[in-house]
């Protein structure tokens, strides 16, 4: 089994409780990503879900840590991100909130 890449944000997220769904609920149409200058999704997301791969010229979406805030939907200048909430109790489950 290959370990998923370790990211700095993981240290922050390990305290949270997730019931991760097998399917990605963040739908990104990447047709505009290359020409997108600032790529605001890559820095606005509070859990670093969006990482731009300059070699593959693609976004990698780490939906597992998503806290379902919706910032990515709001900041995408091309309105190409849709947040489709995870089904039946999946996703983040705040223990304190």
């Amino acid at each position: 089994m290959v370990n998923p890449p370790s990211r700095k944000i993981d240290e922050r997220l390990y305290v949270n409780r997730y019931n991760v769904h097998s399917e990605n609920h963040l739908h990104v149409d990447q047709s505009k990503c290359q020409e997108c200058r600032d790529k605001p999704c890559t820095f606005s997301c509070p859990v670093d879900d969006y990482v731009w791969d300059p070699e593959l010229k693609r976004l990698t979406v780490f939906y597992e840590g998503c806290v379902e805030c919706g910032a990515c939907v709001v900041v995408c200048p091309y309105h190409k991100i849709a947040l489709d909430y995870p089904p039946a109790g999946r996703g983040v489950n705040f223990r304190f909130g």
Binding site: N19, D38, P46, V67, A71, A88, F94, F96, G97
Partner: protein, 433 residues
């Protein structure tokens, strides 16, 4: 539960939705309260303060049974400079009686308790059910489709959209789109554990009582933002909020601003030794009056964050109050058997006469101040720091000379005319009190 029909469907079991459901259930209506989290509060985030009004009108003497963290008796407002803080505090045991000064709460405990009150009144609570579509008929929304695969459909005479700032119901019904970046702040919060004794000694509190500290000024690198530290029983709610459009200008990660806030010399000692138990984020409506969508449209009543009703520092009370009014409106419709779109407009009329709109109208300049009020985040905090440092260091220079220097700082940094104009108008939009 396929194709069931209720008098009303409430989407979202937060403060707004539960208030609506409770109001209607008490009036004898059949109400479905739909929540996408596995329990109410599981998907919710807020700063941490709930107010006495209008909760008390729904649940008399709620403070005897609600899961309250601490009753707030100390309200502190701190204007942060880069390394300094200028505080104003009001502390009064009177505020702690019957939670007059509000109380801190945690969503995952408060929301299930609140939703349970609606259930006991007769509402049907359904959890783990995200709404995926609205069902439309003859120009109005008549039901919702929830879940995937099973395609459960629920129908009702009226729909209450209490599904938060990113409201699926309002978006699917075409009533509004996602909010604009200048109309929302991104809020980040950590729940930090400390022994209750430590909290009480550190914040100078009696057992069971609490303090709320609201930070303004230099929180978000000169952009519009604020911070807070609220005391819970054995945790602190520590967070920041920054206008999303300003975050785009800063091009930094929002948690960098949270980390800067937590390590600010005025804030850090309060958190020392604490263990982070949870990291949360949420969007906060900050658009003020001009961002409020049609409140009653196409058979849908918008309440709480879905209706963009937050107004710093209040939110839960406005959510609850709007929920109550939506509930009363639908009760009226039930009485007369008239659920027409026209009849549901009563909600908008009630809202326009209410505390909520009075406050939003009073702070109608709020959004302007947020988007263009750099002086509140830079000029004033800098001026306060410079003046206070100069005045409080006794170094043989007489106070007359120092006061003259202070006047010069105000003149150079902001200008007398602008100070007067701000005192007359904008400051009242920027301050929490």
């Amino acid at each position: 539960m396929s194709t069931e029909k209720f008098d009303a469907i409430v989407v979202g079991a937060g403060p707004a939705g539960t208030s609506a459901a409770l109001t209607m259930a008490k009036g004898g209506l059949s109400v479905a309260l739909i929540e996408r989290g596995e329990s109410p509060g599981a998907k919710n985030v807020f700063g941490g303060v709930v107010y006495k009004w209008p909760l008390e009108e729904m649940i008399p003497k709620f403070w005897e049974k609600a899961p309250i963290e601490r009753k707030i008796i100390d309200h502190r407002m701190v204007i942060l400079g880069k390394d300094s803080g200028f505080s104003v505090s009001y502390k009064d045991d009177y505020l702690g009686m019957e939670t007059r000064g509000g109380f801190t709460a945690l969503r995952s405990r408060f929301d299930p308790w609140f939703a349970q009150q609606a259930e006991e009144a007769g509402a049907t609570l359904v959890t783990s059910m995200p709404v995926s579509e609205v069902i439309e008929e003859g120009g109005r929304v008549v039901g919702i489709r929830a879940g995937r695969g099973k395609e459960n459909e629920l129908y009702a005479q009226a729909i209450v959209a209490a599904d938060g700032v990113m409201s699926t119901v309002l978006q699917k019904a075409g009533i509004r789109g996602p909010p604009a970046a200048e109309d929302v702040a991104i809020g980040l919060k950590e729940v930090i554990e400390l022994p209750s004794d430590t909290i009480e000694s550190r914040f100078n509190l009696k057992r069971g009582y609490g303090a709320r500290l609201d930070y303004l000024g230099s929180v978000a690198r000169g952009k519009s933002g604020g911070g807070f530290v609220y005391t819970n029983s054995n945790t602190l709610s520590v967070g920041i909020a920054v206008l999303l459009s300003h975050l785009l200008e800063l091009r930094c990660k929002p948690y960098e601003i949270l980390d800067e806030f937590k390590s600010h010399p005025v804030v850090a000692p309060l958190l020392e030794g604490g263990r982070v138990k949870e990291y949360q984020a949420h969007l906060i409506p900050e658009g003020g009056l001009q961002s409020i969508p049609p409140l009653a449209s196409r058979g849908v009543l918008a309440v709480g964050d879905a209706a963009m009703l937050c107004l710093y520092p209040e939110g839960t009370n406005m959510a609850m109050a709007s929920g109550v009014m939506a509930g009363k409106t639908i009760l009226e419709s039930k009485k007369t058997g008239d659920f027409s779109i026209q009849r549901l407009m009563l909600y908008e009329r009630l809202m326009k006469e209410s505390y909520i709109f009075k406050e939003h109208s009073r702070k109608k300049n709020y959004h302007n101040v947020l988007t263009s009020g750099d002086r509140f985040n830079t000029d004033y905090p800098d001026a306060i720091t410079e003046i206070m440092r100069n005045i409080l260091v006794v170094d043989g220079v007489d106070r007359g000379t120092k006061h003259a220097a202070a006047r010069k700082v105000i003149r150079d940094k902001v200008g007398y005319v602008r100070v007067l104009r701000d005192l007359y108008r904008d400051i009242w939009s920027a301050l929490p009190w």
